[in-house]
Symmetry: C2
Subunit: 430 residues, 2 copies
Amino acid sequence: MKILFKNATVMALDPSITGEGKFLAVDGDVISYIGDKMPDGDFDRILDCTGKLLTAGFYNSHCHSAMTLFRGYGEDLPLDRWLHEKIFPAEERLTHESIYAGSSLAIAEMIAAGTVSFTDMYEKCEDTAKAVIESGIKANLARAVLSFDPVENMSENIRVKEALTLADEYHGAANGRIKIDMSLHAEYTNTENSARYIGELARDRELIIQLHMSETESEHLACIERHGVTPAEFFLKCGVFDVPVSAAHCVWVTDSDMKIMAEKGVTAVHNPVSNLKLGSGVMPLRRMLDAGVNVALGTDGASSNNMLDIVSEMRIAAILHKGVSRRADETRACEMYPLLTLNGARSQGRDDCGEIAVGKKADIVLINTDTVSTIPSYSLDATFAYSVKSSDVYMTMVDGNVLYENGEYKTIDIEKVKYNFKEVQQHYFD
Amino acid sequence: MKILFKNATVMALDPSITGEGKFLAVDGDVISYIGDKMPDGDFDRILDCTGKLLTAGFYNSHCHSAMTLFRGYGEDLPLDRWLHEKIFPAEERLTHESIYAGSSLAIAEMIAAGTVSFTDMYEKCEDTAKAVIESGIKANLARAVLSFDPVENMSENIRVKEALTLADEYHGAANGRIKIDMSLHAEYTNTENSARYIGELARDRELIIQLHMSETESEHLACIERHGVTPAEFFLKCGVFDVPVSAAHCVWVTDSDMKIMAEKGVTAVHNPVSNLKLGSGVMPLRRMLDAGVNVALGTDGASSNNMLDIVSEMRIAAILHKGVSRRADETRACEMYPLLTLNGARSQGRDDCGEIAVGKKADIVLINTDTVSTIPSYSLDATFAYSVKSSDVYMTMVDGNVLYENGEYKTIDIEKVKYNFKEVQQHYFD
């Protein structure tokens, strides 16, 4: 399939590509041409992009997709009470069917918000994988590992076994759309023994590790109490940072932690809405960026957000740090786009994704920018960071395939997804 | 015109009205019936509301609507530099045509987000009034008064003259949809002389006063330096609080200020996005509510937001204070709805509005809640506060008239509004 986007306003990391009146060609699953002139050749489809912004696809770099089942369940509670009183008991009852239904709904919500790939840490990930394969989206999936016994034989840990089975069956599946990561749920749910084990496993298999890190102050301080070091220092010591790591939250990391993260190439996934809603605090984005840490954006699960709307997440990130620091120039509009695109691709180890550039995968978003809420535009960066909403997303393309266009899902039977979800959810708390 | 909403899930302040499977009848411009059974009588239109939430219409209680012209203009600057280097020079060039075009676009954006009424402080308000009349929305409009000469004869102040002409011509216009307020732009742009004058004028004419108050710390402290009292104490002393006042921002008010505001019935309009984006800080919402202050929500102008999306504003208010206080129960989901509805109506002196109740004006919003991003719903409050987006707004009704339904404007020629806006805006910075 050859597709031509014409008259597009392109937003890219390369300023020579950014601008109005561009032509962009997609050949199969890659971007084959970008320029000011109509390219030669025949096209199966030509799309006039007048009034639309063309950008790289968005990454939701931290999610628990099946938690759509718990959207709005257990509100207005702090993280520890929310987890122990509401979420953990509810999760005890999760079935394959519910993981599939919850993930399918989550994927539909994410696709409509321009998400081309997401990072997911949960359980029964093969059911999420099934929804990923069907929908055409990309995902890095990880079975969360927890271990509380300091001398546990980790090769017998049921979650480790599941993680390895998952990797064997799904790593690289669906033409590479699915990648399997290893995961340590967090420092406070693991031991030095399990951290070292997962670090080695990931190194041997050349896999990324997903984890939660320094989400709440109490968690951060308890680690120092327990181990005499911060969570980042703990993971460093255990060899976990010797492989690529995607660390969610990082609200309470120190300057020294950030230095470690930058040196070791650890991605910090900023989840501003979840951190606000659960009362966890505000991640030090400015210092993180200045330290050279790769920062990506995530929604966390729908139960602590309650949206999987990465565009809204970006806008909140774009204004939040100004307000909390009381400096209107604390962050600038132009700093938001990479958090949503290239930095997310990097966190997933997808070197061929995350940019509008010839030879890169055709993961593309078209955004309506001729709307009552986006005009006028004095700068593309400002329009993108402060005015665009997920409902302005006109098209989401992954690997050259249109997943969503003008309000319609092209790969998903959305009524069936909603029906299945409701069937499962209605019986969940019976 | 008699309209029946059937099978509606109603969200109202009265818990006996809140619930599923409701019938609500509109007769002319008022709500004439709410109940669990089909009412008698013939209806011109019957709307099946299955999958939709029916709520009172939303109030955008602080706006400068024509500033859509400056959306995205002068980004990432602190309030004082943004005002003096960018906005004030640009405002020098405002024409009647541009105010009309800017307000018309703003109203379209607001209507699509479920806004039934807005509070507006600006200049050339007769042009905003024209757009209000055409669109069918409600508005409290005020000509901002500034006075820097401590012995100025205020009856000769050009802005005061404009304010009075405006009141004479438009107060109560369009069947009461338009109300004209008096306005003191702020303490720092006025003197004791002008504050006392506007206070007396508003008292004589029984008009509300709109003002900005304690938006930034420096403004708040400068007032104490200048007058030995806080801005709230200054306005109290000048008799300004002897009439109903709608005070925007209130980020830096003290506990003592809040006590004054509660006693005097001063509304605090919370503008979380503008306050964050301009680096002004975070208004003390919890303490404000506990002090018994009437708190409403506003977007401020599009140039400091950059949306006029009161639904998004609410969601950000709903999560922001949890995060900043680091208490997940700092505010609760159920506290958001009144900020958006009744408290806004109160701030505008509209006693017959802001509630779903028999005899109240039929200012109604229908929201799609059977969407991929709003299901499941374990509580109406949580769905409303945390999951609903402006793009979920299905219908906006004002005084029994449908202004917007299923993506279509019923009173506005939206293409003409956009065309006019672009014509004006393109030549604005020539």
